[in-house]
């Protein structure tokens, strides 16, 4: 089979057994891989409690992994989020996806609960269940260091202690994005997964693939957002700090403001001047948006900078870097952690001292008494404190680093996302902020419902091919359709991929509805309809017009055929 191996490794941690399940060609052609395949595999288990033994934790790769197609080595991890209760998938870069595929499997389906801490070592020849008692309690870097010559996915103390927003961290410094899937892994007593292998991805039409790759790279080079002097290759995602601050949509002091006086101290140029970062990249990636400091420490991405910075009223770069590192070591989602602290800061009137962040994050990860409420996330903390209005969440997921008052499409996407308050389903910042593929008026409602639906379908297809979302600041389904067709030998058009994406999104929505979510949950906190953003440089950021917002949301449901 070209592009895929056609094999899923099914692992039962309770019985410590495994088997290889065949993935039919038809199934793979229909769902591609990555997010699509993971959703397909998960459907029958979606109703289960996130910490139940039977709920699977699924890791999937895409058909382009191992083919050399630019920016296509991402991994999907999927289960049910203990933080939100929704179906939850995240993606991670690095080299784990590439290496997992070299074991001869397209994915892992892990269920059951081990009676003792366990780690897995997976190779083409088979799987070992390794005792992990000695690793339990260790940080993610200590855990990863225990394995050699392989890629590793590990949880830290946060996952072990089932902090609701615990992450899974990977050996090259990447982590999965949000939702508490580290806690799901911890509930299974699964400390780490190590993969190594040498199985190659076969390609149906290598010459056509080479042509497709050239088209993609040409667009990357021409893209200011990717390869321009201020783009991701030069500065990484911290390049967005200056832009969102200038556009008055940088979340500040728990979204009480949208412009931060100290942003320039946390910006891409500030990081460059202070640390002279080195380029780093996911496996074989041209964009190389990751950056490392002098001590080889992975530097924060935009969201962590924003949330440990302006959201907490902190402008000390080193404090933000240290907090980000602490999250990685503990296996905590930086966005949720910082947001929860920001919620507490607003409620108590005191934001955390930058010097105290590391200690607080450790206390959260170990669920110490004084931080127990913090370990539950922003919504539950705010509820327990009697101030639900202070929690900036949708479906219990804390909002990321774009203030919704600054862009209507982004605001809508926070509501419609099956994950909760996340921008990654539609990446509307691409056109509303970065002008790619074309600039759209960020303050206009006109047509945003349909545009969002189209963007969500496209990104579902990208996530199923496991292509990095950064690629779509330049390329599109048109170019990647040619690549995936050349790899698999199946003739996909952009329209075909969009239809696959639509099916995936609609399936996710149905799963959430069956789990009790409704349109009532698809709404932003009241603050964004009642309070204006910061006004600077003759730009006033009014509150969102709730009537117009709701009307556009209805239009979205109609376009997506969800209004029944």
């Amino acid at each position: 089979m070209n592009g895929w191996h056609g094999r899923l490794l099914v692992i039962d941690l309770t019985t410590r057994t495994c088997r290889t399940e065949s993935l039919s060609h038809n199934r793979l052609l229909t769902f591609l891989g990555g997010r699509g395949l993971a959703v397909e595999l998960f459907q029958d288990y979606a109703h289960l409690d996130p910490f139940s033994a039977d709920i699977p934790l699924i890791f999937t790769t895409g058909p382009l992994s191992g083919s050399g197609t630019p920016a296509s080595e991402r991994l999907c991890i999927l289960s049910r989020s203990p933080l939100t209760g929704t179906l939850f998938d995240t993606t991670a870069g690095g080299s784990f996806a590439y290496t997992l595929k070299t074991t001869g499997h397209d994915g892992l389906f892990i269920s059951g609960t081990s009676d003792r801490p366990v780690a897995l070592r997976i190779q083409p020849s088979g799987i070992e269940f390794l005792e992990a008692d000695s690793l339990w309690g260790k940080t993610t870097s200590e855990t990863i260091a225990a394995f050699t010559a392989c890629s590793v996915a590990a949880i830290g103390p946060a996952g072990e202690n089932r902090v609701l927003y615990a992450n899974i961290v990977f050996s090259d410094g990447d982590n999965d994005g949000r939702g508490g899937l580290g806690a799901v892994m911890g509930a299974k007593n699964l400390k780490a997964i190590a993969v190594e292998g040498d199985c190659l991805t076969t390609i149906a039409e290598p010459f056509k693939l080479e042509l497709a790759q050239q088209k993609i790279l040409r667009l990357f080079r021409a893209s200011p957002a990717i390869m321009g002097p201020f783009g991701l290759h030069e500065y990484g995602t911290p390049t967005f700090i200056d832009l969102t601050n200038q556009r008055q949509m940088l979340p500040t002091r728990n979204f009480k403001a949208t412009h931060f006086y100290g942003a320039k101290d946390l910006s891409g140029p500030a990081i460059r001047n202070a640390l002279s970062p080195q380029h780093d990249s996911c496996h074989d990636c041209f964009i190389a948006c990751k950056k490392r400091g002098g001590d080889n420490q992975r530097l924060p991405e935009y969201s962590a900078l924003s949330h440990f910075g302006p959201l907490l009223n902190i402008c000390n770069l080193q404090s933000v870097i240290d907090a980000n590192t602490a999250c990685r070591e503990m296996g905590l989602d930086a966005i949720s952690a910082a947001s929860t602290l920001a919620t507490q800061g607003e409620i108590t009137g005191t934001f955390p001292n930058p010097d105290a962040l590391k200690k607080i994050l450790s206390q959260i990860s170990h669920r110490h008494k004084e931080a127990k409420s913090l370990s539950l996330g922003s919504r539950r903390l705010a509820g327990e404190s009697g101030h639900p209005e202070a929690s900036m969440t949708v479906k219990s997921l804390e909002l990321p680093a774009f203030d919704p008052r600054g862009a209507i499409g982004i605001a809508l996407s926070y509501c419609t996302s099956s994950l909760g308050g996340s921008h990654v389903r539609g990446h509307m910042e691409s056109s509303e902020i970065l002008r790619k593929p074309v600039a759209i008026d960020r303050f206009s409602f006109s047509g945003k419902g349909r545009l969002l639906k189209i963007a969500e379908d496209a990104h579902a297809a990208y996530d199923s091919m496991m292509v990095c979302p950064n690629a779509f600041y330049a390329a599109s389904l048109e170019e990647y359709a040619e690549a995936v067709s050349a790899v698999t030998g199946h003739d996909y058009s952009p329209a075909d991929l969009s239809q696959i994406g639509e099916k995936i999104v609609n399936t996710e929505q149905r799963i959430n509805r069956r789990n009790g979510f409704s349109v009532d949950d698809d709404m932003l906190p009241a603050r964004f309809f009642q309070e204006k953003g910061t006004s600077e440089d003759n730009l006033t950021l009014p509150p969102l017009d709730k009537n117009a917002f709701s009307a556009e949301l209805l239009r979205y449901y109609r376009v997506r055929n969800l209004d029944n």
């Binding site: 080079r221 390869m227 321009g228 783009g231 002008r435 074309v438 189209i454 058009s493 075909d496």
Partner: protein, 385 residues
């Protein structure tokens, strides 16, 4: 929304792309809205409904030789223009011959538009999509026109006419479509500007005049002005005739990354200013300049990617021509040493960069370049014409 439809409809006509009265534009939200002649409206509505996309453009090109472009293709259903816009964004242009029309035409059109940004239909016109906005449908419509124009005139130079009818079409084009190139009235400012407000205003005006003079198509081209430590530059994807609110001030000290939304040619502009100091840079895609840049007399050349790697600086009359691709690692390093002396340079298959001490000089250099290249084209093809 109707205002926007009328705006892009008249823009395609004003740009010289669409025949007057034969341009239809479509948008789709929870209903389809459209403007244009009835026969095109009927077809377009069916196509956009099938596609499910937000926007579509369907127009009859104002090029008398349009159908000849398709007729000249002996086999297959794709033309592959080699100009930079096509290479980077369009990739290739599928088409349908009139003889292939059948009951499945709508399905076929939808299938083809599901794969590419635009297609050609013999005896009908050009159809393009806007996956996000109506502006995209317009940009693709204009780009396709540009690609077809450049390809036809290149092929004509290389192969001549294939029929008397084609010769007649071409003469029609020369007499009626081609207009004399003219200067703005009143003229652009000649002084060196330092006040940001003046700079923004004159950049906006110069951009408009560049479009009016047909020296750039759709949302391509860019303009900048350097004053002191700041380069004021048009944003990426901004139309030169709609620059209000679309100009980024980029400090030379890299103290901010707000310039991430600046033109993709920012690096080229910076390197040019390192050579010339304060001034103005204008970049357009004038068609005859592009065509002439692609006519190379070196029959012994073995370089396969000459549009990107040719090490030689050629000339069309006294205008230098260099190779290079858009963006990182491309044309920026090749343009700057050449433009310092000449004030203008053509990039193979791509467009023209001009520099000047002020807006008038930069515009004048662009206009003169296109005049020279247009004259040279017809001089070299006098036996054809």
């Amino acid at each position: 929304m109707n205002n926007e439809l009328f705006y892009y409809q008249s823009k395609l006509e004003r740009d010289g792309c669409g025949k007057p009265g034969r341009v239809a534009m479509f948008t789709q939200d929870d209903a389809i809205a459209a403007v244009g002649p009835d026969d095109l409206l009927d077809l377009g509505k069916r196509v956009i409904r099938e596609l499910g996309l937000p926007a579509l453009a369907l127009y009859e090109p104002a090029l008398p030789f349009y159908n000849s472009v398709i007729k000249k293709v002996s086999s297959g259903n794709t033309i592959i223009p080699t100009d930079t816009e096509t290479r980077t964004f369009l990739h290739d242009i599928p088409f349908i011959r009139k003889s292939e029309f059948d009951d499945n035409l709508i399905t076929r059109l939808t299938e083809m538009l599901g794969k590419r940004k635009g297609i050609m239909v013999e005896n009908l016109g050009i159809i393009t999509v806007g996956p996000v906005t109506l502006e995209q449908a317009y940009i693709n419509a204009s780009s396709l026109f540009h690609a077809v124009f450049v390809k036809y005139l290149l092929d004509l130079h290389q192969c001549g006419f294939s029929s008397e009818n084609e010769c007649e079409e071409f003469n029609n084009f020369r007499q009626h479509w081609l207009k004399p190139l003219s200067y703005p009235d009143p003229p652009l400012r000649t002084g060196l500007l330092t006040n940001p407000k003046d700079i923004y205003n004159e950049m906006t005006r110069t951009g408009s005049e560049t479009v009016k003079a047909h020296l750039v198509d759709s949302a391509f081209g860019n303009i900048s002005c350097k004053s002191g430590d700041v380069i004021y530059i048009s944003q990426t994807g901004a139309s030169l005739d709609a620059l209000y609110g679309c100009i980024d001030p980029v400090p030379l000290d890299n103290s901010t990354t707000c310039g991430i939304t600046a033109s993709s040619e920012l690096l080229a502009h910076r390197l040019i200013y390192e050579q010339i100091g304060d001034g103005v840079i204008l970049h357009g895609h004038p068609k005859f300049s592009i065509i002439m840049s692609m006519l190379c007399d070196n029959s012994d050349c073995t370089e396969e990617e000459c549009w990107n790697r040719c090490p030689v600086v050629r000339n069309c009359r006294d205008v230098p021509i260099v190779s290079g691709e858009i963006g990182a690692g491309g044309l920026a390093e090749k343009i700057s040493p050449v433009i310092k002396n000449s004030g203008r340079v053509i990039v193979f298959g791509h467009g023209v960069f001009t520099s000047g001490r002020n807006f008038n000089e930069a515009f004048d250099a662009m206009l003169q370049t296109e005049v020279a290249c247009r004259d040279e084209y017809f001089h070299r093809n006098r036996s054809n014409c």
